[in-house]
């Protein structure tokens, strides 16, 4: 049996967090609850985030979107500022697990679980999102790369809570793409995934490329060499093949039940070629 705490505001949440350093934070519970089956139960103390208003809601700020950490995937998808404004993230949310899980699971949970396969992580990386952490000493901001240290490991301090995700509004990225390779059409853990954002100049040449892979290393993999290889070129198959070679060299995938490292490496590169189909449309 666990003791369940339901704080009604951020101050109460932070006080509980300080008093119960071993407590688990739970938004939708879609990662925590299944994992507890294998661990023989939930932790002794569970702090629910559902009634903390500061963690909910999406607000538009100066050039950025502030997404409450407890916002559900379904709520994000339904919000046009995400659904239309951040297509790379929306595509990932649309193939995350299943409708029932999207109704429960939160973006903050997806980040804090820090799975190499977390579906929202590659899009948040290419969007250059930052996380807002609150503790009793105040608020701090980190980039996603600073926050996620490895599989299941984050920079969240003992008394801290992930409050929000800050997403700069992308300007001019006409080509945004997310693709997950799973072993079935829904409820599939990414074998490898790619988030891509390309800003093209007036002549269709790549002015800026941001590429990030999921399930291709201990954390999301960015590949500056692949991004650089596209600069100044149209996203044609030959340009993308050159970038794919860099990507295959950069990823650090593992062998597991779902696929071999070699497959992941090959497909991490292959997925870039899809951008040629999208840009020719």
């Amino acid at each position: 049996m666990s003791r369940v705490h339901a704080p009604r505001g951020l101050a109460e949440l932070l006080a509980l967090r300080a008093d119960l350093p071993g407590a688990a934070l739970m938004a939708g519970g879609t990662d925590l609850v299944p994992r507890s089956r294998a661990r023989g139960g939930l932790p002794e103390d569970v702090i629910l985030l559902q009634d903390v208003p500061e963690l909910h809601g999406i607000t538009s700020g100066k050039g950025l979107l502030r997404i409450g950490a407890a916002a559900t995937h379904a709520a994000l998808l339904a919000d046009p500022r995400v659904g239309r404004g951040l297509p790379v993230l929306a595509r990932a949310l649309a193939c995350l697990a299943s409708p029932a899980i999207r109704n429960m699971g939160s973006i903050g949970g997806n980040i804090c679980t820090a799975s190499p396969a977390g579906d929202t992580l590659p899009p948040l990386h290419v969007l250059e999102a930052r996380v807002e952490l609150a503790g009793r000493e105040g608020v701090r901001e980190l980039s996603l790369a600073e926050f996620i240290l490895g599989p299941g490991r984050t920079a969240l301090g003992p008394g801290e809570v992930l409050c929000a995700v800050l997403v700069p509004r992308p300007e001019g990225f006409s080509l945004q793409h997310f693709e997950k390779v799973g072993l079935r059409g829904a409820m599939a853990i990414a074998v490898v995934s790619l988030a891509a954002m390309l800003r093209l100049d007036g002549r269709g040449r790549v002015a800026e490329a941001r590429l990030a892979w999921g399930s291709a290393g201990p954390a999301v993999v960015r590949c500056p060499a692949a991004e650089a290889a596209l600069l100044g070129r149209r996203p044609t198959l030959s340009a993308l093949r050159a970038a794919a070679r860099h990507a295959r060299a950069a990823v650090r995938p593992i062998d597991d039940l779902r696929a071999s490292a070699a497959y992941r490496r090959e497909v991490a590169g292959n997925l870039l070629l899809r951008l040629a189909d999208l840009s020719s449309r």
Partner: protein
């Protein structure tokens, strides 16, 4: 002359559709008797070991634990098994797979149960194990069961027809191949469970998610040393079965627990991981084939070697292999054949019955060999199949003569005539970028019923209730295939009533009459036939009683109309409700038996205990339209078109559900389902790692029924729950090869295998 029906061959919603949609239908798992205890098994956790001691003291001392039982508490033979009894209820001296139960705990709640199970201390001496049949067959290999004459060979069987494989040398064209198919889990929604209670009069009352309530009584009684007639088994609708609840799952453990519960009810419900660990699986198989033909495509000779992995116990291993061997040559005329099979014990999870039952494994090999032959001869794969398709009076490769309805050619012709078949090339050309599309055809057959050697009967009981409606005592569990609804339809047709006037009692050994299991495509066929007879007897009696009420001299002037017996000439009628009040229960009740006919064929089969050969077969031809992603190797089946010979269709809705369900379950086995093990331990024991298809993966399915009547079936039907599953894997395999050239003989066809198997020239495309 075409028969006129009032109910048959029309679309009807299932009787259980609304109650299930509303959550009102109570499955076995929904039963929580007042004051229940929870029972659970401690599993061995290692694949092969000598048991030194099982120390239950710490578990027994835990507050809330009622009893902890071991082998010493089992009074009977301690052996379960449908045909071959070799599986202990509680292992006493040896552990043969990780899921073996070594202790049984009764506790007041699930949390206490889980703690107590972890407190049972096992002292096991690990033994070297055997984890694949090839290893198990080696000289000096560790023995799974000591003291058997055959060592690790459970069953060795052979079928030789004509001049056997020697004829291959005379064939101008010979193709060869070796295939493998994986272990598959049933993955039903409702995992194995039941409740049991020992009544003060000594009756053991059980409600179990089971496919065979009548046989369960004997299996439990023998294992535990009880009187089978003092065991009552109730079988509500099952939340899926697919063969995995045919034979003891929780039954013997649950009964044992109830014997030691001091009269309190006991509930046992396997967790998903336990279901994967201890439940039965489809046999993994390795198949080596050679198929010889004339230049015009006429099949002449077949050689085939089948090796199946039975896991630690027999279950129905021999029978599964028998059915696979019987259809090893597919639904084709092959005059000369040498078919050999080995079913082998290993320390892997236990294999058992699964929809498709051995024939699913051989269909993959047989059909892909046909594709290979078509390629070599430059023939169209469908035409090659049609040229060799079994017709009534032909003998199949196993020497079994098709004397009953044989619609294989009609299925292939129906498929060829379907617009999607004609349009397949255009569909392929319209592939989106970085995708390759392909079309594949497969044909399949499967024997209906248990086959010779195991009498297969059903006994129907129907009564006119006191209020003038009808009650059918269904004796064969409905695991989702819809047989219970089919029975209401059959009785409605036979008695000229509306289907709404029938109430269905689900199987209960206390009031329903002995019938075989829900399995083998025989459920609706056997019980339905018995029910038609029982309805005939009831109708005759109601007319006699009606004649008295209507003062009619001759029952020939009377007819059974909806809700009444009617005098045709005068139009006078007596309502059934009135008639019922004048009849005692015995008078209002009719019962009848039906025994499945068997083939008189003497064939060249050797080594089978039971299960070979069959008289009736269901047939199907399937077109799979699949898309392969060139960048990832992922395969998406976009559409199945199936043409099935299942005799006359009773309810098109039920027919379509069975066809589509079988194809999609087969698609799961083809693409992603694979119980992975390392040294006997399951690596993917839950549904986030063992991947069954989701609704998002389900393709469009067109279900055609060919014009066919099985003369011996109720209103002309025969069972079709399995046959389409057998065609899914080979048709997808053919479609994948057609799409990108990847010829994969080892299922499942995972993206990684497909990407790696594309020929060099295709690989350069991305």
């Amino acid at each position: 002359m075409p028969q006129e029906f009032s109910q048959i061959d029309r679309r009807h919603p299932r009787n259980d559709a609304l109650p299930k949609a509303l959550g009102l239908e109570r499955f076995a798992a929904d039963h929580y008797p007042e004051g229940l205890l929870w029972a659970g098994a401690r599993r061995a956790g290692i694949p092969h070991a000598r048991i030194r001691t099982v120390d239950v003291s710490a578990a027994a001392a835990l507050p809330g634990v009622v009893r902890v039982l071991t082998r010493a508490d089992v009074a009977g033979s301690n052996l379960q098994g449908i045909v071959h009894k070799d599986q202990p209820v509680l292992a006493g001296d040896k552990v043969r797979h990780c899921g073996d139960a070594v202790a049984l705990v009764l506790a007041v709640d699930r949390e206490t149960l889980a703690r107590a199970l972890s407190l049972v201390r096992l002292d096991l001496e690990p033994l070297p194990g055997v984890f694949d049949p090839a290893q198990a067959l080696k000289k000096g290999a560790p023995l799974v069961h000591e003291g058997r004459r055959g060592g690790n060979v459970l069953v060795r069987a052979s079928i030789r027809t004509g001049r056997g494989a020697a004829v291959l040398r005379e064939c101008p064209v010979v193709v060869r191949g070796t295939f493998s198919t994986p272990m598959q889990a049933h993955a039903f929604i409702e995992t194995e469970n039941g409740t049991a209670r020992l009544l003060p009069d000594g009756t053991l009352e059980m409600t179990v998610s089971t496919q065979a309530p009548f046989r369960d009584r004997f299996e439990i009684a023998q294992a535990l040393g009880l009187d089978p007639m003092r065991i009552r088994v109730v079988a509500p609708y099952l939340g899926g079965g697919f063969g995995g609840k045919d034979g003891a799952t929780v039954q013997c453990l649950l009964a044992l627990a109830a014997l030691h519960a001091g009269g309190r009810p006991v509930k046992m419900w396997w967790e998903r991981e336990e279901s994967m660990l201890a439940g039965y699986k489809r046999h993994a198989a390795r198949l080596t084939y050679a198929l010889g033909a004339d230049r015009d495509g006429t099949l002449r000779a077949l050689s085939c070697r089948i090796v199946m992995d039975s896991g630690a116990y027999a279950h129905l291993g021999g029978e599964v292999m028998a059915l696979g061997m019987e259809s090893a040559g597919g639904p084709y005329r092959i005059p000369h054949a040498d078919i050999r099979g080995l079913c082998v014990y290993t320390n892997n999870p236990v294999a058992g019955a699964f929809r498709g039952f051995g024939a699913a494994q051989t269909a993959f090999a047989a059909e892909r060999m046909m594709d290979r032959l078509a390629e070599k001869l430059g023939m169209d794969p469908l035409e090659l199949r049609l040229r060799n398709a079994l017709r009534r009076g032909d003998r199949n490769a196993a020497g079994v003569t098709m004397t009953a309805s044989t619609g294989m050619a009609a299925c292939l012709e129906a498929l060829r005539a379907h617009p999607a078949y004609a349009a397949r090339e255009a569909w392929k050309r319209a592939a989106p970028p970085h995708a390759r599309r392909g079309a594949g055809v497969a044909a399949a057959c499967i024997g209906v019923g248990y086959g010779r050697g195991l009498p297969d009967a059903a006994t129907a009981r129907i009564e006119l209730t006191e209020t003038g409606t009808f009650r059918i005592f269904n004796a064969v569990p409905d695991m989702g295939q819809g047989n219970a609804s089919a029975f209401a339809l059959i009785a409605a047709e036979a008695l000229g009533q509306s289907p709404a006037s029938f109430e269905l009692v689900q199987p209960d050994t206390a009031c329903c009459l002995p019938s075989g299991s829900s399995s083998a495509g025989r459920t609706t066929y056997t019980y339905g036939n018995a029910l038609v007879r029982a309805c005939g007897a009831l109708r005759d009696r109601l007319l006699v009683r009606g004649a008295m009420a209507l003062l009619a001299d001759d029952t020939a002037d009377l007819t059974l109309a909806p809700g009444a017996v009617r005098h045709v000439k005068s139009g006078r009628a007596v309502p059934l409700a009135l008639l019922a009040r004048m009849m005692i229960l015995e008078d209002r009740t009719a019962t009848a038996e039906f025994v499945m006919p068997v083939t008189p064929d003497a064939t060249g089969g050797k080594g089978f205990v039971i299960g070979f050969p069959h008289l009736l077969f269901a047939y199907a031809a399937v077109l799979a339209l699949s898309e392969v992603d060139e960048l990832t190797g992922a395969v998406r089946v976009r559409r199945f078109v199936s043409a099935t010979d299942g005799g006359r269709v009773l309810n098109p809705q039920g027919f379509e559900q069975q066809v589509a369900g079988a194809l999609i379950q087969g698609m799961g086995w083809a693409l992603s389902e694979d119980v992975l093990t390392r040294e006997g331990r399951i690596l993917n024991p839950d549904l986030s790692t063992y991947l069954v298809p989701t609704a998002a993966d389900a393709p469009e399915v067109d279900c055609l029924a060919v014009d066919s009547v099985e003369e011996t079936g109720p209103f002309g039907m025969k069972g079709i729950g399995e046959v389409n599953l057998n065609a899914a894997l080979p048709s997808i395999g053919a479609a994948v090869q057609d799409a990108c050239g990847a010829r994969l003989d080892a299922a499942p066809l995972t993206p990684e295998k497909v990407l790696g198997a594309r020929p060099r020239r295709a690989r350069r495309t991305p």
